[in-house]
Amino acid sequence: MSTVDIRAVVQEELGNIAPEMDVGAIDPSADLREALDIDSMDFLNFVTAIHRRLGVDVPEIDYPKLATLDGAVAYLETRLP
């Protein structure tokens, strides 16, 4: 899967959690939880959606790697073939 595809999926799922925010306008190195005002339930829903869409099971211990948009994309790239 290309980087572009992964980013698109991540942005789409973030958009599902924070529908009134413009996900495309987020600073890719900003803390997602702050930028989108999402809580742990939202984050878990995001991780679940990633599991469903990309088949990647993100363990809790790796959650900090998903702190930013860039971080999330980079992490998922390493987990996908």
Binding site: E12, E20, D39, S40, L44, N45, T48, H51
Partner: protein, 385 residues
């Protein structure tokens, strides 16, 4: 009314193309019927004259109901077009050679459309009518990526409208909170709870589970409050007309913040009897429905006690306001690592401040303290929750 699909139970007559006195021959289209699969034209199998229409436009009738009477040469016969099964079965062909589905009318594909199971499921999950999607598979089969494309299109078009009227909700909250503060003599207690047992247990348990099955700390907090409420009925019930009535069940109102402003605390029924997994599932489902604006009346009216938590991005302590006609609200601040004395030494431990705001007409500080400390005790043994 013909059967236009194995699962069809009824259809709505939307148009008559004939009237009494018209001659018809076998194969003529005589009416249009609306089913779950779309608007479908139906034909007559009889040749003759229409004697009488039996079903009005707009009527929804079960499969098998006579729709009209056609007088044939053979004499009066009350005939509804027989279900397609009455036709001689077509010669057996390999599925790949079957007739392609009828081209779309009114933007909808007629019966016979091929849909892959995965596409069907995805469309259902997103509430999309599968038959409005054009298939790009062999024989116009609707495939998974056809549905995915539609989902993307819909998302691009529709701005998301919140399900709740936030302005109206703000007004309602204002009125309720003002009244609560006016009428209920609140007293407040706070208690620090050491959370390492919960955190360790959660970490271990979640490490072995996929995201769909993981628990959040909030589920443990709700369960602990629910179990404690069982033992301390003075905090679980309603105050009406100068009298307190303890509730026989424990329905925890879970405070959920609505994006864009607004707060709602719908009930998780019998939270004391749900397993943690079920409780977590209910919480997830409630949050989803709150976000979509689909909360039921009973969920608003039923909570017997409320739990409110600001989560890890909040502050240390939350002092709640009781939701009338309840008599208590338990608040949790964020879990923070703080100094904690254990066995005479100071250690760094995860600590949460739990508060109780309770109705002093029903309970007093002594009972409140026991209630709060009970919650703290339950949270030391998360595996028993």
């Amino acid at each position: 009314m013909p059967s236009l699909g194995a699962d069809m139970e009824a259809g709505t007559l939307v148009e008559w193309l004939i009237k009494a006195g018209d001659p018809v021959k076998r194969g003529d289209i005589v009416a249009v019927v609306e089913t779950q699969k779309g608007a479908i034209e139906i034909e007559t199998f009889e040749t003759g004259t229409v004697e009488r229409i039996l079903v009005e436009i707009g009527a929804k009738v079960p499969v098998g109901t006579p729709l009209a009477i056609i007088q044939t040469q053979r004499g009066k016969e009350g005939v509804a077009p027989p279900p397609p099964a009455a036709k001689p079965p077509p010669p057996l062909k390999a599925p790949a050679a079957g007739p392609p589905p009828v081209a779309a009318k009114n933007g909808r594909v007629a019966r016979g459309a091929r849909i892959s199971p995965a596409a069907r499921r995805l469309a259902e999950q997103h509430g999309i009518d599968i038959l409005t999607i054009t298939g790009t598979g062999a024989d116009n089969t609707i495939l998974l990526n056809d549905v995915e494309r539609r989902i993307a299109e819909l998302k691009a078009q529709a701005p998301r409208a919140p399900g709740f009227d936030l302005a109206a909700m703000r007004e309602a909250i204002a009125a309720a909170m003002a009244r609560s503060k006016r009428e209920i003599p609140h007293y407040y207690l706070a208690h620090e709870i050491e959370m390492s047992a919960c955190e360790d247990w959660l970490t271990r348990r979640n490490a072995e589970r996929p995201p769909e099955e993981r628990l959040l700390l909030g589920a443990l907090l709700v369960k602990a409050v629910a179990l404690a409420a069982q033992k301390f009925p003075a905090f679980n019930g309603f105050y009406h007309d100068g009298k307190f009535e303890a509730a026989s069940s424990v329905h925890i109102g879970t405070a959920i913040a609505i994006r864009g402003g607004g707060l709602i605390a719908p009930a998780i029924h019998d939270a004391d009897r749900l397993s943690l997994d079920d409780l977590m599932m209910k919480m997830r489902e409630l949050v989803e429905r709150v976000r979509a604006g689909r909360i039921r009346g009973s969920e608003i009216a039923d909570p017997t006690i409320t739990v409110s938590s600001l989560g890890e991005r909040g502050v240390e302590t939350l002092y709640g306001i009781i939701y009338l006609p309840q008599v208590a609200i338990v608040g949790f601040g964020k879990v923070a690592t703080r100094p904690w004395v254990e066995g005479g030494t100071v250690l760094a431990r995860p600590i949460v401040n739990a508060t109780l705001a309770a109705d002093h007409r029903v309970s007093d500080g002594h009972a409140g303290a026991l209630f709060l400390t009970e919650i703290g005790k339950l949270l030391q043994e998360p595996e028993t929750l």
